[in-house]
């Protein structure tokens, strides 16, 4: 015998039945604590498996010490139901099982209490395996439907309910339900967990309300012949039979109609906030990969969502949807170069830079002139930025040629500097006024706004790095229009815009010079400028259309439509008012 070579004993699978009737032996184990309280206020699950039939019961507990009372109740019910008594129970050495109460109970009813050997959960494999199956199914259900975690008990319950009716007991080749209850289970009432459903307003409301409320299917009632569903209107979980289901794939639909469900998710989130435990750890530094692989709700202590690569709610992308994505993804670089040299190695960035220069030519920004002494030439540089959408996916590379305006001298290269920014109060006043007068506000922005401003001073800039003219290397560009980075650029842009609007019979505001107004008969159009962002609204939609056409004729615009996001304010224009946050 060698002390250094001993290993754990192997545990072979049993090929025969060790029991002959239901309730001869019950396996029991606890799982939990779950990090999240269930909607019923529970943290633990007690799993009881009948050895013969493998019929399973799950009971939910607030604390471990409730295990005994919960088991006692269950034992009475099932012994009554089967009209035979429990002969033996098998548990591990957890104190919730190995205690005086259990001992007395077992003694009183003549039940044999078997324990698995210490630190050998393998001997308790029946229930341990069941635990795993239940948790895995429940987790999958919650993940798939994106449900808040406090619904875990419902998910476990559903998993247990379904497993009892669909699993086939090896050797006996029958379902646990059939073995335990003696009749074949009916599974025609099974529904997709988390699917949309409509709950009949069963005499709760009178005329005027719709007859059904929308809800989410959450499983099957354990006490009555009914379904459990979350009612979206009353925000309660109900048990009812008057229910119809819509089992079409919810996820695909959701992608198309986000706004309608927004409120719903907010409500659910609110609920989550109330129910969810508040001690999520921020400290994520020492997260190791091993932990990431372990089950999610047992060890989320150090698991922050920031560390999850990719998006959780995006789900699995199929090849088909990937193709759609690839169509424009292929032309977007994922890196943000620091220097021109870096950018010049990437074909995506070169094309973006070329596009920027093309815009210069389109706008007739500059002309090449030979350099003479006494010219104050201002350097240029490239600035590279990746634009992201709301989900943080890079959708566009943006290259901008800027002048090194900090080399400009006041009086020689520029005269005045200011930018047309509106006061935030003015924006809010406009919003409130629009609300009260009952018209909608729209927004649009000007592409490369500053390139539109005419320049009065003589300003020369060097050729853009990486795009020098090989034939005329000594030449510099004389600017006709402003460039980003020049001190006078915002001012010149304002000049250009205000001149244009004034020529179209707009009036400048008396105090707020970024406000432009035009009256025609009884209608009025209000235009508020914030550098290159423009908010506008009118009592007459025709005026709005006219303004859009005017602007598009003069500048390169991107119409952004209804005002929803401005200067970091989220704006929701609803039927009965406007919401800002």
């Amino acid at each position: 015998m060698s002390k250094g070579k001993q290993t754990k004993t192997s545990f072979k699978q049993k090929q025969f039945l060790s029991t002959t009737r239901p309730l001869e032996m019950l396996h029991m184990d606890l799982f939990g604590p779950s990090r999240t309280m269930s909607i019923g206020g529970n943290y633990y699950g007690l799993v009881v498996v009948d050895d013969f039939s493998r019929y399973t019961w799950t009971l939910f507990l607030v604390t471990k010490d409730q295990a005994f009372s919960a088991f006692m109740k269950l034992a009475k019910i099932i012994q009554n139901e089967k009209n035979c008594s429990i002969a033996a129970i098998k548990t591990d050495h957890g104190r919730e099982f190995q205690n005086e109460n259990f001992e007395m109970f077992c003694e009183k009813f003549g039940i044999q209490h078997n324990f698995s050997a210490p630190r050998t959960p393998q001997q308790n494999e029946v229930v341990e395996r069941k635990n795993r199956a239940l948790e895995e199914i429940a987790r999958t259900l919650l993940n798939e439907t994106n449900f808040p975690k406090y619904l875990w008990a419902d998910a476990v319950n559903t998993a247990c309910y379904v497993l009892n009716r669909v699993l086939i007991r090896p050797i006996l080749k029958k379902t646990p339900y059939e073995l335990f209850k003696g009749r074949k289970p009916n599974i025609s009432h099974f529904r997709v967990f988390g699917c949309k459903c409509f709950i009949l307003n069963n005499g709760k409301d009178n005329l005027g309300n719709s007859k059904a409320d929308e809800g989410i299917f959450l499983g099957y009632s354990s006490q009555s012949h009914a379904y459990r569903a979350y009612n979206k209107r009353t925000m309660l979980i109900e048990e009812t039979v008057h229910i119809t289901f819509d089992e079409t794939n919810q996820k695909m639909q959701d992608k198309h109609k986000n706004s309608a469900d927004d409120e719903e998710t907010r409500r659910l989130q609110k609920l989550t906030e109330i129910v969810e435990e508040q001690n999520k750890e921020l400290d994520t530094a020492e997260l190791d990969t091993a932990k990431r692989e372990t089950v999610e709700w047992r060890v989320p202590r150090n698991l922050s969502l920031d560390n999850v690569i990719g998006q959780i709610n995006k789900g699995v992308s199929t090849r088909n949807s990937l193709n759609l994505l690839c169509e424009h993804m292929a032309f977007v670089s994922q890196i943000e170069p620091k220097t021109v040299q870096e950018a010049l190695n990437d074909s995506n960035w070169i094309s973006v830079m070329q596009e920027e220069l093309n815009q210069f030519t389109r706008n007739d920004v500059w002309s090449l002139v030979p350099k003479t002494s006494g010219m104050n030439v201002i350097g240029t540089k490239w600035v590279f930025r990746n634009k992201m959408d709301e989900q943080g996916i890079i959708v566009r590379n943006k290259a901008r040629l800027v002048a090194k305006g900090y080399n400009q001298e006041e009086g020689i290269d520029y005269d005045e500097t200011y930018a047309p920014v509106a006061r935030i109060e003015a924006v809010r006043l406009l919003l409130a006024y629009a609300c009260l007068s009952g018209f909608k506000l729209f927004q649009m922005d000007v592409k490369s706004a500053f390139l539109n401003g005419f320049i009065n001073e003589e300003v020369y800039v060097t050729q853009p790095p990486g795009f020098e003219d090989h034939k005329l290397p000594g030449h510099v560009y004389k600017l006709k229009k402003a460039l980003y980075g020049l001190k006078q650029a915002p001012r010149q842009w304002y000049e250009r815009l205000s001149n244009f609007l004034l020529s179209k019979n707009y009036q400048r505001g008396q105090v707020d010079k970024t406000l432009f107004i035009k009256n025609s008969e009884n209608d009025i159009i209000l235009v508020q400028v914030y550098v290159d962002d423009i908010i506008f609204g009118s009592t007459n939609e025709l005026l709005c259309q006219e303004f859009v056409l005017d602007m598009q004729g003069e500048f390169e615009m991107s119409m952004m439509g209804e005002l929803n996001y401005f200067l970091g304010l989220q704006i929701k224009q609803l039927q009965n008012g406007t919401f800002l946050n």
Partner: protein, 193 residues
């Protein structure tokens, strides 16, 4: 801060921040960054304006007590992420101004802090919390100064509204100090209480 508890108010009622010269210094850049972000947020959150402005006074030499006060605001924000300004459709188009002031709220230089807000119909459009530039000797003086700045803002709003084509004639300015109200009457302003 993710795991912090939510606070129900942005600042404790008994919170008197002073220079706290003997306190432990905190990273100035971090503090300034925090204050900057919070100030940006005051554009849509009038409820934290006073608390943020209070903390912002100590940017030159931030101590732990100031940092804790700033963190309290974050805790408050955590519990109130779903609130915002609501501009309802149905209301009458009238402008109202409210002003108030504390007296010698800043214990360091005994200057008072004025607070003003303006409503168009039922929508809050403008608000302000500012430590006054001069030292007031009485509550009436402090309130009068607050009413003055409130009035200046009303003038601007009136002008802006007239650009919108809306003429407002009488704008009520609400002030809770009788002496200050009488002061405004003496100098014969066009605003009524």
């Amino acid at each position: 801060m993710d795991s912090c508890k939510e606070a129900s108010t942005p600042i404790a009622t008994s919170c008197y921040l002073d220079a706290d010269e003997h306190g432990i210094s905190v990273d100035q850049t971090k503090f300034r960054g925090l204050i900057g972000s919070l100030l940006y947020l005051t554009a849509s959150r009038p409820d934290i304006t006073f608390a943020v402005c209070m903390c912002a006074r100590f940017q030159a030499n931030p101590k732990e007590s100031h940092f804790n006060a700033a963190k309290r605001i974050l805790k408050y924000l955590k519990g109130t992420t779903n609130v915002g300004l609501w501009y309802p459709n149905e209301a009458t188009l009238n402008l109202k101004g409210y002003s108030d002031s504390d007296f010698a709220g800043c214990k360091l230089d005994r200057k008072s802090t004025s607070g003003t807000c303006h409503l168009l119909g039922a929508s809050l459009i403008s608000w302000n919390s500012k430590k006054q530039a001069c030292v007031s000797l009485s509550t009436a003086e402090a309130e009068y100064i607050a009413a003055g700045s409130c009035c200046a803002q009303i003038c601007w709003l009136k002008q802006q509204l007239s650009d919108f084509g809306l003429k407002v004639t009488k704008v009520p300015l609400f002030c809770d100090n009788t002496s200050a109200i009488n002061l405004t009457k003496k100098s014969s302003t066009s605003f009524t209480n």
